[in-house]
């Protein structure tokens, strides 16, 4: 009898948790990674105080036909806040926009707007895109600082994904070049492994390049680096035996 109850309860629990898994988190979608979109700048910490978009830059999904940066979603309204210090990427007239996709929705079109002018459209005719997408766009003679709005229109839903990219459009052609961006809030962890390895025995911290053989302390113990890497949150020495061994 008890066994029967147990197995029924087990089965119910299994069904319940399966349902939770399958209807789980937001099943999103995609955004422009480079030149960095506003949500990419927020997610990488280059622009501060962006709100919850930092956890899901791929989720700016709203009804089709909008012309804003946040897809009409109040929780992402900061993306349309023109008073924020959005860094602009210096580009020429031809720019390649690269998308990170986390779901391959059948696609009607990809549209690129500057102001009210649609500078480019790519018609996918309802096909599923590849795992990544790149478009080469001619900016149609626009110059100076511009806010470009990219829209990914999904074929089989009424929804679209929105990504704004701030550009400083100069002469010449070619690929985007990073601008020096004096307006940006500096971020504590150093973004690139330009730092010399810290002195032996220093305390482990994130955003630091560690060479093979260097040592750090963490939680009162000393660890030796087994493989050169730039440290990240979640890669604390006791958690990643592939990278650190306790001395």
């Amino acid at each position: 009898m008890r066994k029967t109850i147990l197995s029924i309860v087990t089965a119910l629990a299994a069904v319940a948790s399966t349902l939770v898994v399958l209807t789980g988190p937001a099943q999103a979608h995609g955004y422009i990674s480079s030149p960095p979109s506003r949500q990419a700048n927020c997610a990488q910490g280059r622009v501060a105080n962006c709100g919850p978009i930092i956890y899901e830059p791929q989720s700016v999904e709203g009804a089709k036909g909008q012309r804003n940066c946040h897809g009409g979603l109040s929780q992402f309204a900061q993306l349309s806040d023109e008073s924020k210090p959005w860094p602009a990427t210096s580009v020429g007239q031809n720019v390649t926009f690269n998308w990170i996709l986390t779901a391959r929705h059948a696609t009607s079109t990809w549209e690129y707007y500057i102001g009210n002018t649609r500078v480019a459209v790519f018609n996918d005719g309802g096909r599923q895109p590849g795992a990544t997408v790149s478009h080469n766009v001619n900016l149609g003679g626009f110059s100076g600082r511009q806010r470009l709005l990219a829209i990914w229109n999904i074929a089989d839903t009424p929804m679209a994904f929105y990504s704004c990219v701030d550009l400083q459009i100069g002469g010449g052609g070619g690929n985007p070049q990073p601008t020096p961006t004096p307006t940006v809030t500096p971020r504590p962890p150093s973004p690139t492994p330009t730092v010399t390895p810290p002195p032996a025995g220093g305390t482990w911290r994130t955003g630091t390049y560690y060479a093979t053989g260097s040592t750090v302390t963490y939680g009162g113990a000393t660890y030796r680096c087994l493989q050169a890497h730039t440290s990240l949150a979640g890669w604390e020495p006791p958690n990643v035996p592939a990278l650190w061994s306790r001395v």
Binding site: A13, V20, S33, A40, N98, I100, A131, P178
Partner: protein
Amino acid sequence: MKRLAIVLALVAGCSAPAEPAFNAADVMFLQMMIPHHEQGIQMAAIAEERAARPEVRALASAIRATQSDEAKTMTSRLTRWEQPMEAPPGSHDAHGGLHETRPSDILSLEKAPAGQFDVNFLNLLAGHQHNAVDMARTEVKTGLDTSTKDLAKRIEESRGAQIQEMLRLLAAPQR
């Protein structure tokens, strides 16, 4: 759901010796995460060979090393729990496979032109890791086994940090 899991644990506690308590969400998380890790490892291995920028190669090496360890941990946990390594067919494709990285994606990464490789790799792996974050968040919310939920928390954190790093690398292409 949480209540059911507690009931399950209580009932199990009355009738059986103290088994590590886990639920179907834990099992499915591990079953989905192991192949997801293996794909990440494949992409990273390709990048270690082909990436032009040393920072990209270093990131790829560290990702391959850490994910290989995690995959071993996850595999041995499923074995210890006497659970299958794979979920029943069909249980993963509730979203029509929209979130999967396909073998063909990895193949086309392998064949990407040299000048395009770093950008393709970073965009492909960032999308892949965004999906890992989503799976890990689901496990943190719905799982039962403490060490699996802890692993999920670390996966959520480290993949989030990797995505930040990849976005930085994409935003500042090397001249």
